[in-house]
Symmetry: C2
Subunit: 469 residues, 2 copies
Amino acid sequence: MSERTAALDPDVIEDHEALDEDYVLTASFVEKVVDAADDGDGMRLRSLLEDLHPADVADLMGFLTVEHRAVVVLWLPPELLAETLPELDDGIREEVLERVPNATLAEALQELDSDDAAAVVEDLEDDQREKVLAAMPATDRAAIESSLGYAEDTAGRLMQREVMAAPQFWTVGDTIDHVRAQGEDLPELFFDIYVVDPLNRPVGGIPISGLLRAARSVKLSDLMEPVNEIAADTDQEEVAYVFEKYHLISAPVVDGAGRLVGQITVDDIVNIIQEENREDILRLAGVADEDRGSSVPEIVRSRVPWLAINLFTAVIGASVIGVFEGTIQQIVALAVLMPIVSAIGGNAGTQALTVTVRALATRELNSSNAPRTFVRELVVGMANGLILAPIIGLATAFWFRDEDWKIGLVIGTAMVLNLIVAATIGVLTPLTLSKLKFDPAVSSAVFVTATTDFFGFLIFLGLATLVLL
Amino acid sequence: MSERTAALDPDVIEDHEALDEDYVLTASFVEKVVDAADDGDGMRLRSLLEDLHPADVADLMGFLTVEHRAVVVLWLPPELLAETLPELDDGIREEVLERVPNATLAEALQELDSDDAAAVVEDLEDDQREKVLAAMPATDRAAIESSLGYAEDTAGRLMQREVMAAPQFWTVGDTIDHVRAQGEDLPELFFDIYVVDPLNRPVGGIPISGLLRAARSVKLSDLMEPVNEIAADTDQEEVAYVFEKYHLISAPVVDGAGRLVGQITVDDIVNIIQEENREDILRLAGVADEDRGSSVPEIVRSRVPWLAINLFTAVIGASVIGVFEGTIQQIVALAVLMPIVSAIGGNAGTQALTVTVRALATRELNSSNAPRTFVRELVVGMANGLILAPIIGLATAFWFRDEDWKIGLVIGTAMVLNLIVAATIGVLTPLTLSKLKFDPAVSSAVFVTATTDFFGFLIFLGLATLVLL
């Protein structure tokens, strides 16, 4: 088929519509893949998939069922499969890896940068991992094993070993000649040149646009700027913070002796930032760990513990109500109204909690402004209470005007007090967890709503018993 | 003072301790700045501040009070002030801008890239903006005005106009020579070279590490790869998605006719991703818009509307209880237990909601897998219910064994049903909002918990009336 007619081939035209204008796979494209997989039409599948970006293949996998994924994996060209693996969600990647023959996998992994290859190998079951590594050339194997030697979620695991380093005494011309000659051994993409001393310790960095701009005779030591070194055992969240704060594009990673062992680039950081954000937002809602590849049992396991804890704290809240059974027996209106006090308290507490967790995550909050933040939240809680209390107080007094107007006074007062409790507990819980080196997002919400429920019921029913009986 | 003694000067040693090992300003450093500001010791302030990175100055401002910020701004070296402005939180930036003389500001802005300068000018009050722009050279003014001509939160506003473009027929050598000669007019940092046709439309891109690697005689058209063009009117969230998905470091921005008008670099994208995540997490908790620079009245304005809506929905929930006053009068235990049913429902609903909002934000969820996701959540809700119902059912039957063991049956059944309601509403609410082009995070939570409260009370008290009376 000539190039000319290719453009008119309806199949080819259709394939160009894989993505909508928002770079999202279209439902009609996903359907086509599903149809081809159902028909077992491998050639059609391959022609649909081969021009996709690996990120789009990974997206596609997320939209498919387990059965359809199995067929797609079978027909994915090997290089595309290799590049797709690091892009997949964890759950789906594990599933896909089980279906790929070890020899194919060993070959595919050699196509990847050492950090991406290690990330894939990390997900393999122990015996598959051994077999795949054994099938790889010694140097590739060594690179992956060395990467896996660093703890999970550290800079060492994140970095690629390929890096562009140059001694201080080189000129711009020396450096460019070196890159032209040694291109093969350098990282596929690099953004900074690290200038190292004779012990291979970074002493400076040069963005390559700066290198291009300079005359060939300029010495690297005259061009270089201070560089943010990252120790290989630094936690990845820490790494992301430094990149974000100082707008870094790449940074050198050093071992315990300060020697250059690799580099981290900003594209990996973007993934980590999203991952950390995902964790924060899900943990605040009491979801442990799940993604679109998770099975129903995995999702249940991720969510039931939180609900069970919540069940326990709800029973504690209920037992407070139990203490006042006598009061409720006499004034049933209290049973009607008490959830209002606890609901508003829970919401206000969650507001204070979320703002605090976020400020801790972005390090806008630390011990130097914690007292001020706490006082501010208390004032906000009181102000919110003073705005809302008259509304609910008057509404309640009118609603139960046939029983006792003072019930409006009780609910209004209880609401102000509970909003102060909410502010206090909403700020102090994450601050305390963070001080104790726990993740301030995890389990904060259950504690905050349990506390506002408990005190909401206690204050409201207690006041009612004092004032109305 | 010689270099040698400088290292021993206690002040200098102290200054090096501005940051702790986590790159966060130390409390003792902040205190020193506060003391110097209180003493009005400008020289001391300047010596403390001058070696800080602009991002750290911005951080410092966040830890200070309004009064201390005013003193610090006064003593910040002008270039450092300029570079700090784009790093500040919105609220603090507005406050700082009001204190800087227009002439100083006009001078400072000329130090910045066009996107950063525009971001600052955007925050000025109308009359200050006119005066500052009038005090700038015509070319800088034109660049800023053209940037402000694009709608807020679009690629046009985000891009910098400085960009490295080269015609297709150039060789690697031509390009390097051009960069060396024209370095001044090029962006301070660039990562890709955009190859353009005679109408200045991008036809490809070359990472500059690729340019370095190639021989001088190689033609750019042989080296270039396809490039992700971004239309100037694209929403910034869309831009961030494309960068993240395809791991871009920079991308060319084009006007309506496809002509190259600027570039966006990944460091700006990292900020946007954080900003969008912040919005999502705060909106889910019912916080409209606030940051650490917000005053108490601003925070109250940001939170009270949500609490007021929640008050309204809580009253609706309470009125359901009101319908069953007669039942509660006869069995007060129901008043004790009903908050348990609504609390678990609210939590399960929030779990489903948060997972759905997150999947929509990362585009893992769209119309092609929405039905499957919905069914999965229903199954999860039912499974959660079947796990938790026996626990609470048996506990309740034991707790109220003197009254009626069937109350355990009622609460268990109500909980299963309410968890199914929670799953349904938790998924459908954000999906519907998103379909209607609303932000699925905003106001979802209030609707979800209101619904689970309403149905929790209705199902529990309704069942109790049927079974126990």
